[in-house]
Assembly symmetry: C2
């Protein structure tokens, strides 16, 4: 077995609680729009907004305009803007690392490991998260898949190549069986599922999606790496 | 002379220091982009960014992409995103009312006056400012001109009509001779130039652009209205 020389991380729900951030932001938006005059109950607006985000995708810019339209209302810049401000405030308040994220990144760096990000989505948005989390300087390698294929074995090979390492020398840490574990295992990396509050409870389809290790929180990585790396 | 029953305000540089906010935000953006790897000196980047904002307008979404291109660099999501986060942070930090803004709005409200906004620009952006300033609930009337014509006499007539008042019963307060004073005088409103830190030092072209009153700060409005309104 090769020595692990690099650890790659997923971003969303792995380095911070994305699901909580999204839910808090959405609630903040709806309350602010109601405060600004949206004549709808919170629950109704929330469910409608969820549908609109699903329909238009999370990177669409006019969710709140569409929300008003879909409620049969005239679009009001005052109400739309209240939503936009509330969203920006919630983003700045809730994109914060888990308690163990930064200490773990520091410990891994001290251990001489290279760190990286293997992510998918709009690059500027993924970088925004790393910067708001304040962790961007830890990573030597950042690869972000922009296309629908997502976290393919090729993407993991690209990350390993950028780190100057073989796949067997790299470890992928993420919360999703279907994305982080499946792709990385096929690419030949060591895989670790982290059971953060929203980790995927999806069952592996077969052995090719079964993580090599499961940890309860990011801090457990330190001991895991000490265990798997042959003593010098 | 009619009794003044409503006071309309300009937003930018009248209710808060927009110029300082824009300059601080721009500097914050450039420093963050350099910290993220932009290989240019602060002064060079600042001047180039100013030109790009001028060329594409302030509502364009890709200033930082164009900045990198114009410096002969490949667009980096990391660096662009650092700029976007820095801009958002500066916006949330610097869109704050002048010390006298809120107390004055409260005093005028206590005096039984209707308050309004006569502004120009993208409505969602102007509302965003009012909401971030936390003053949106003071205003019964908000009119925002979206077209290049700006603050025409018609726009002021629209504001008066919405307030249910004659132009002679309304007062316009702003920092710009060419926009706030010229248009409002032509429409028949009483006009007040407020010498906030960045008020326009433009000379009135003729008597039609000369303000009825000049005040040093928003707080002076209280005494001015007491003076101009006939005692009951």
């Amino acid at each position: 077995m090769s020595r692990i020389k690099a650890v790659f991380f997923d971003v969303d729900n792995t380095l911070y609680d994305t699901a909580m951030q999204v839910e808090s932001a959405r609630r903040n938006v709806v309350l602010a729009m109601i405060e600004a005059g949206l004549p709808v109950e919170e629950k109704v607006a929330l469910e409608r907004l969820k549908k609109i985000v699903k329909k238009y995708g999370s990177n669409y810019r006019f969710h709140y305009d569409r929300l008003m339209e879909s409620l049969g209302l005239e679009i009001s810049p005052r109400i739309v803007s209240a939503g936009l401000v509330a969203y920006a405030n919630a983003k700045s308040a809730y994109i914060t690392p888990y308690a163990e994220t930064v200490p773990t990144l520091i410990d891994l760096t001290r251990m001489g490991l290279k760190l990286g990000i293997v992510s998918e989505g709009v690059p500027v948005k993924q970088w925004e998260k790393l910067i708001r989390l304040g962790v961007q300087h830890f990573f030597d390698v950042v690869v972000i898949s922009e296309d629908a294929a997502g976290k393919t074995p090729q993407l993991f090979h690209e990350a390993c190549a950028k780190a100057g390492l073989k796949p067997s020398e790299c470890m992928m840490v993420g919360d999703r069986i279907d994305k982080d574990i499946a792709g990385a295992r096929k690419a030949g990396l060591m895989t670790v599922l982290v059971m953060t509050p929203r980790y995927s409870r999806i069952k592996p389809k077969d052995d090719s999606e079964t993580p090599d290790y499961v940890i309860r929180a990011l801090g457990d990585l330190i001991k895991l790496i000490e265990d798997v790396n042959p003593k010098k």
